[in-house]
């Protein structure tokens, strides 16, 4: 009962914060005056002057997409170089060497695509300079690019017989200046108040209060405590649905996430912008109900996922109880499957985080998913495989969901005897082709990637477990990359040339194919005329449509992954039942 209250409270805080934020973002998108304008407008103009951006230019979709791709390509190259030569750069008190080319490629692809999959451990691999100037910068800009593309798509849906869909450079600049930076400053200051570290000092060596004896008899008496500018990176890692931890243990690490309050702030930060964008959408298409409908469809998927995971984790499994590993009776403690979860967070908070982070393409974790129950671990897997559209990443989640909305109106629209339309724009072969690219990029990437990996003999060597659970570990890695999520199931060593390159390519594919397709839809929609609404028009804001949209998202996901899931978590689950 107590935990149900917790879940309800988290969702309530999230939505209450997201609604006003959505209105604020809509104003920023349209370049209207907001309370920060007085402070930030000079900065904005300065940026444009520095980059020689013509603020008034209205780009066609091809130019917009070209700018987005070029910008991302430059980011990718710079980030890769930064990783490989970090030993030559300042702010490297531990003297860490440059990384391998394949790890550099994987990490660069991962952060540029807003995936933030980490095949490395932050404190053991990266210098402060790489973390700050490389990763933190990407945390901002990759989120801003996602938001910019969404803005362009919204303009495409609302404009009538126009060629332009906005200006990439102003969209990115405004997203960073007016949305991401102010929120990040707030969150990082709050996190510092809770004890998240923020310094440039070298790692400290401390003597253990109680020495530990290893299996081979060695006595461990000292521990190295890593340091660094964590708070500033953690704030944007959460807000920008990035998720790449400063430390290897991500938000389970006490220096990244020390208290229940810091945990609450970080958890809400994961979803606050993606949720707010639904309301922004409604406001910008001049029909709030459209935004609410998309929000409800996403929220219902999220709540469903949360319920299943919560019930599974709270219940644990018969085997766990049998071995005495976990007390699931709930008498001495909150009960449930506590394996792999932090005692300071407990089950409700861990489960909420896990569902938030996988539904939002964030990928930060505060508990170890490898230790979840089979079905409890399947839900995060499934959320990623649905294409990260139940909120999803900043911007990209919503434009992904809008592609599913187009698919839904196509099928449902025909059933009411009209050629399909969304928000008054006719869906023709061109839009259909692009929408299919968006909807199917994730299944294609995951199926091809994991299909090849399953065939290679070295895959088995990277796995911690064998059988169905081992299969889940491998499937999870490709689902995480293919959903641009970045969370890790753990128990899988991904830092090999094959995995680094294949996962990196998979992330790039899933990020940029849908992005270009979304912009193509925006361009084509902007040129169309708007069809009048009548009683014969399919409503895209009523309960029936919300249900259908959820149905289509689940159906595409289920049809693509039912076989894979049956051999992974479902097989593990039914084995446990027997």
């Amino acid at each position: 009962m107590n935990s149900v209250l917790q879940y309800g409270l988290y969702i309530a805080i999230l939505v209450l914060l997201a609604i006003p934020l959505g209105g604020y973002i809509a104003k920023v998108m349209r370049g209207e005056k907001v309370f920060l304008t007085r402070v930030l407008a000079p900065c904005e103009r300065g940026v444009y002057r520095l980059l020689r951006v013509k603020q008034e230019e209205d780009m066609g979709w091809k130019k917009y997409a070209g700018c987005a791709l070029l910008f991302s390509a430059i980011c990718l190259a710079v980030l890769m170089v930064l990783h490989m030569i970090q030993n030559l750069l300042p702010l490297n008190p531990e003297g860490l060497p440059g990384t391998s080319w394949h790890l550099a490629f994987n990490t660069a692809a991962s952060f540029v695509t807003n995936t933030n999959w980490q095949a490395y451990s932050g404190e053991a691999t990266l210098s402060y300079f790489t973390q700050m100037m490389g990763l933190t910068v990407q945390n901002f800009v990759s989120a801003a690019v996602g938001m910019a593309v969404l803005f362009a798509l919204i303009r495409g849906l609302t404009r009538v017989k126009q060629n332009g869909i906005g200006n990439f450079w102003t969209d990115v600049t405004r997203s960073i200046l007016y949305i991401l930076i102010p929120l990040s400053i707030l969150v990082s200051l709050a996190l510092i108040s809770q004890g998240v570290v923020q310094n440039f000092t070298p790692y400290e060596t401390v003597t253990l209060v109680e020495p530990i004896a290893l299996e081979n008899g060695t006595q461990v008496t000292q521990q190295i405590v890593p340091m660094g500018p964590a708070a500033s990176q953690v704030a944007i890692k959460q807000l920008g649905t990035n998720g790449g931890g400063f430390f290897g243990a991500n938000s389970a690490h006490p220096f990244e996430n020390p208290t229940p309050l810091s945990n609450l702030m970080e958890m809400i930060s994961i979803l606050v912008i993606p949720v707010a964008l639904c309301f922004t959408f409604g406001k910008c298409v001049n029909d709030k109900k459209q935004g609410v409908a998309i929000f409800l469809a996403m929220m219902i998927i999220l709540l469903g996922a949360l319920t299943v995971t919560a019930v599974q984790e709270q219940g644990g499994t018969a085997q766990l109880e049998q071995d005495g590993a976990v007390d699931i009776r709930g008498e001495n403690q909150a009960g449930g499957n506590m394996e792999g979860k932090e005692a300071r967070f407990g089950i409700a908070t861990s489960v909420t985080w896990t569902v938030f982070t996988t539904s939002a393409s964030n990928g930060s974790v505060n508990s170890m998913l490898d230790s979840y129950t089979p079905i409890g671990g399947m839900i995060p897997l499934l959320l990623m495989e649905l294409g990260e559209v139940a909120f999803g990443g900043v911007g990209c989640g919503l434009y992904g969901m809008l592609a599913f909305a187009i698919l839904t109106v196509f099928i449902a629209g025909l059933m009411v005897g009209r050629t399909p339309e969304y928000l008054g724009k006719k869906i023709e072969p061109y839009e259909m082709r692009m929408a299919m690219l968006i909807c199917l990029a994730t299944p294609v990437a995951i199926l091809i990637g994991s299909g090849i990996a399953a065939f290679l003999p070295q895959t088995a060597q990277s796995l911690n477990n064998s059988g169905a659970h081992g299969f889940s570990e491998m499937l999870y890695a490709y689902s995480s990359a293919g959903g641009n999520n970045g969370s890790a199931f753990a128990g899988f060593n991904a830092n090999t040339p094959f995995f680094n390159v294949s996962l990196g390519l998979s992330m790039l594919f899933v990020r940029f194919v849908p992005m270009v397709a979304a912009l193509a839809i925006a361009g084509s929609m902007a040129r169309k005329k708007k069809v009048a609404v009548s009683a014969g028009t399919l409503s895209t804001s009523n309960a029936m449509f919300i249900g259908l949209l959820i149905g289509i998202v689940l159906l595409v996901g289920a049809l693509s992954f039912f076989p894979a899931l049956s051999l992974g978590p479902i097989a593990e689950f039914v084995q446990g039942m027997a």
Binding site: I411, A412, M415, V531, A535, L548, S566
Partner: protein
């Protein structure tokens, strides 16, 4: 054979397409002809099945040489079912085409080569050169006399005649064709039954209206519509995903089996079968049949669409411009009052009016006889008793009447009678003129009656609103379709009729420019507009409208501007066209939903069966309790093939159509085809599995 008979036979034939033995035989033959790779390549989803069928057949032959992943009997069984799946899809298309082919055959019979009487110019009617009609060129001038067939499409440049157009329209009543004005177009294959016409040919041989019509009903000119292409993109995308699903399943299964120390349980045969089951074959197989059947239903309503796109646009239409006459009101007005003028008594007027109408078989004529009897007790008299000679209405005189005992009674339009009276030396009184004007102002039609040279009075013919139109318009409104009445009446009259008929809006004193502007205004607001038209001056509006139905009786210009031609020239057709358009789209959507929903059950049939060996626990998912992996897969592909045959009648007939709002239509179709699509295969596959096990196949 009589033309009329032939037409009725043609309609009979097309109605019973499915039951007709000949047509079935032809469709079966075509199903095999369509196995040609070139034909198959046009339908990507079925191409996948086609390749799968070839692949499994190949696997069977390999298995005979010992290279086998399953027993040969099973592989050939799968191959046969896959071949049948392809054949069933071909058959569906062939049977849909069959109706059109039968219609085309009948039309071809009308298009026999005739002798054309070519003349150098309209002035030299006797300088006839006889050439075959196939040799006629655009611009040639021919003369066609009573009893002869019009050799090609053309424009009447001299003369007036009645023409039997039943070969094209199925309508047996002859129509008048004359030079100048809106009745100047003639169609090749029709027959002149009185008088003569001088015609200038307007189309080259092979490009005539009849040729186009044959090509259209036969489906030869059929192109995929944008909506079909968009749907095909969806189907292809799903198929690609399922190819990836099955290929990756092979490696997954290999991985899982290795971990368990077993051999890979999924054979290529099983995975190919799984792929075919998952691919949206039901809609893939029926998609073109649905399109052809929609076109065919339109043809049966005697409407020819110039493209499939026009039918789809009809489904989207939300503004109907309806001509008042014939659509909203009965085309034939009824006599409601006798108004005598110049001191004539009402009885005298009624008596003359009735006498003049005794032999007049038009509804107006009959209504005059009835009114005279009701109002003044004047009984109908036998014409032979009084030695009456009936003067029928002609296009030239625009009057009808009787001659008896040296008296002449004439009735007709005001200007025609005015001319007639003037010729006789009489005059058209101011009082009569006033009455005529007053009636016209109220939306009625004045019919002036004269005896010899004296005016008797005016018959007030009134518009009668058709029964049921009000309800019809209310239904259309529920579906979001607005009706707008177009009339030449003045605004006052128009408003009265509009209110009575329950249309949403009206355009009074309609001019061609006014119509064009109205259409443009609605289109600018994002509406899609449908209209019918016949005159040359309708052409700009027809060209602007999204769905433009030209009357077959109309001019060549009107027909060219429209994207459909109504052979019956019936103004109410527009409503049927919208229905057919919507039904076509609904059928497409519903069967797509059904096809995709089916996959859920197919997964539950196949996946647990396939992997029970590796993970015995998965048998919990075998909720249908199917006998074995082989029987489960075989039952699923057999169901997959049979469902195509089972749904052919629905594809041809179209799903049930009702005039209800979009949300109600959606929930109904979703329940029937979505939920039904999930449930039916569970039951059917289980049944097939029981039968297969029962007869000892597994």
């Amino acid at each position: 054979m009589e033309l009329k008979e032939r037409v009725s036979q043609m309609q009979e034939k097309s109605k019973s397409a499915f039951a007709d033995g000949n047509m079935m035989a032809r469709a079966m033959k075509d199903a095999f002809v369509k196995l040609a790779p070139r034909t198959q390549a046009k339908n990507p989803v079925m191409l996948l099945v086609y390749i799968s069928a070839i692949l499994t057949t190949g696997l069977y032959f390999l298995s005979l040489f010992g290279i086998r992943d399953q027993r040969p009997g099973y592989i050939i069984g799968v191959a046969i079912v896959l071949w049948f799946t392809v054949l069933f899809a071909n058959f569906a298309e062939a049977i849909a085409e069959g109706r059109g082919k039968a219609q085309a055959d009948t039309l071809r019979a009308a298009k026999r080569d005739v002798e054309a009487h070519k003349i150098p110019s309209a002035g030299q009617k006797d300088a006839i050169t006889v050439i075959p009609s196939a040799k006629l060129k655009k611009g040639d001038i021919v003369i066609v006399k009573s009893g002869e067939q019009v050799p090609g499409d053309g424009e009447v440049i001299e003369g007036a005649a009645s023409v039997d157009e039943s070969a094209i329209t199925g309508e047996s009543a002859p129509v008048i064709r004359e030079s100048g004005g809106d009745r100047s177009a003639v169609t090749g294959g029709t027959t002149v039954i009185s008088d003569w016409l001088v015609i200038q040919i307007t189309s080259e041989a092979g490009e005539s209206f009849l040729d186009k019509m044959i090509a259209m009903v036969e489906g030869a000119a059929r192109k995929k519509t944008p909506n079909e292409i968009a749907l095909q993109i969806l189907l292809v995308a799903l198929s690609i995903i399922f190819v990836l699903v099955t290929v990756s399943l092979f490696t997954y299964s290999d991985f899982s089996a290795k971990q368990a120390g077993m051999s890979n349980p999924s054979s290529i045969t099983s995975l190919v079968a799984l792929l075919v089951c998952l691919a949206p074959t039901t809609i893939g197989a029926l998609l073109s049949a649905i399109g052809i059947a929609g076109m065919s239903r339109l043809n049966q309503a005697n409407v020819l669409a110039m493209s499939g796109r026009a039918i789809e646009a009809a489904g989207d239409v939300d503004i109907l411009l309806l001509d008042k006459t014939g659509t909203i009101t009965l085309g034939n007005r009824q006599a409601s009052e006798f108004i005598p003028v110049d001191g004539v008594s009402p009885e005298e007027l009624a008596d003359a009016a009735q006498l003049s109408s005794l032999a007049d078989e038009t509804p107006e004529g009959r209504s005059i006889v009835v009114l005279a009897k009701e109002k003044f007790g004047i009984r109908g008299r036998s014409m032979s008793d009084l030695n009456i000679e009936f003067i029928p209405f002609t296009a030239k005189s625009r009057m009808s009447g009787v001659n008896y005992n040296g008296n002449e009674i004439r009735k007709g339009a005001a200007d025609a009678i005015q001319e007639y009276v003037a010729e006789q030396g009489g005059s058209f009184s101011a009082q009569c003129e006033e009455v005529v004007k007053a009636i016209a102002n109220q939306g009625g039609t004045p019919l002036v009656v004269a005896k010899n040279r004296k005016l008797l009075g005016v018959i007030y013919l009134k518009d009668i609103i058709k029964q049921g139109v009000k309800e019809k318009f209310a239904d259309l409104r529920k579906m979001g379709i607005k009706t707008i009445m177009i009339t030449g009446d003045n605004p006052l009259t128009a408003a009265a009729i509009a209110a009575e008929a329950g249309v949403d809006d009206f355009l009074a004193e309609a001019t061609p420019e006014g119509k064009l502007k109205l259409i443009r205004d609605y289109q600018a607001k994002g509406h899609l507009v449908a209209m019918t038209g016949d005159g040359t001056n309708d052409a700009p509006a027809l060209a602007q409208a999204d769905v433009a139905v030209a009357m077959n009786s109309g001019t060549q210009a009107a027909k060219e501007a429209g994207n459909m031609v109504d052979l019956d020239s019936s103004p109410t057709k527009l409503i049927d066209i919208v229905r057919i358009g919507k039904q076509l789209l609904m059928t497409r959507g519903s069967l797509t939903t059904f096809s995709i929903a089916n996959d859920v059950a197919k997964y539950f049939a196949i996946i647990p069966a396939l992997f029970m060996a590796v993970y015995p626990g998965l048998s919990a998912l075998n909720i249908m309790g199917l006998h074995s992996a082989e029987s489960a897969i075989f039952s699923a592909i057999l169901y997959n093939a049979l469902i195509i045959i089972a749904l052919i009648p629905l594809a041809l007939r179209g799903v049930k159509y009702r005039e209800v709002p979009a949300s109600k239509l959606l929930s109904r179709n979703l329940l029937v085809y979505g939920v039904g699509g999930m449930v039916i295969p569970f039951i059917a596959i289980k049944l097939i599995d029981m039968i297969l096990v029962g007869i000892g196949l597994f």
